[in-house]
Symmetry: C2
């Protein structure tokens, strides 16, 4: 089951995030994690390294396709700098599920669709990925990205 939720008005535009029902009701945890995912989507679409890195736990790990795992904030920063140097994203996340595993631990499974522009050539191509996030609450009870990996769902290039 999917529904469309209005999330945040932003500079006169309205961003919509298509959100799959996670089965349970919209708990406080679920809403907070949806908010992190929404902020992450915005960071990606704005090529905003600072905003992306700020969503991670200090011992977070970013597992980008075509890269070795980036462990810790310094490596994560370099990871996003490399991504945004290479490509510009225009994508939208949909949430397949959000599940709390215990106090302070949860995961989210998402998909994202849109377009990628190769900065060097200006070529634009469809982009579609699936993502798995593990979230952890820090000492201030803020949900942060603890582990994050994505992979394309498009067929291999011929």
């Amino acid at each position: 089951m999917r529904k469309i939720l209005k999330l945040i008005p932003y500079f006169g535009f309205v961003f919509y995030l298509s959100i799959g029902s996670a089965g349970a009701g919209n708990s406080h945890m679920e809403n907070q994690i949806k908010d992190v995912l929404s902020q992450y989507q915005t960071a990606l679409n704005n090529s905003n390294v600072d905003a992306a890195v700020a969503l991670y736990a200090k011992d977070g790990v970013f597992m980008a396709q075509h890269s070795k795992p980036a462990e810790g904030l310094k490596a994560i920063r370099t990871g996003y700098e490399n991504v945004f140097k290479a490509i510009t994203l225009s994508i939208e996340f949909s949430i397949d599920e959000i599940k709390e595993l215990s106090s302070g631990w949860a995961y989210a499974r998402t998909q994202s669709d849109g377009f990628v522009t190769i900065n060097q050539t200006g070529d634009k191509a469809p982009e579609a990925n699936q993502e798995l996030f593990i979230f952890h609450q820090n000492d201030e009870k803020k949900w942060q990205i603890y582990r994050y990996i994505f992979s394309t769902t498009n067929p291999p290039r011929a």
Copy 2:
């Protein structure tokens, strides 16, 4: 950091498996999950659909690169049938970390290296991936793959 652990004495022999340290001590949970990962490696290298599917929870999800998420055992089976039809793997997993999140929930982060043979052409190429597994214990306290995603760590094809 890597260490060699004695795993199981078996018919008078001692088997050794090279295992990346997960930081914490070798709990029962950790050894059981290492055993599932070892069985999964064997299933992949033998193109054994039954053995791979048997490691999943009945409501498991397999997120293979270049495919949409396969939800539930029937879709997971089709996913592995498609993978093994296309390629033959010869890979070895190394474990970056295993962490229990709560009673019955854990995750493992791994990397795998080796070779892939394209069945249609016979072409052989280096293969390197990173993986994130979420494990869940079933009613019989058996650790099963609940969510699993991988992506290549090799550079994009030119």
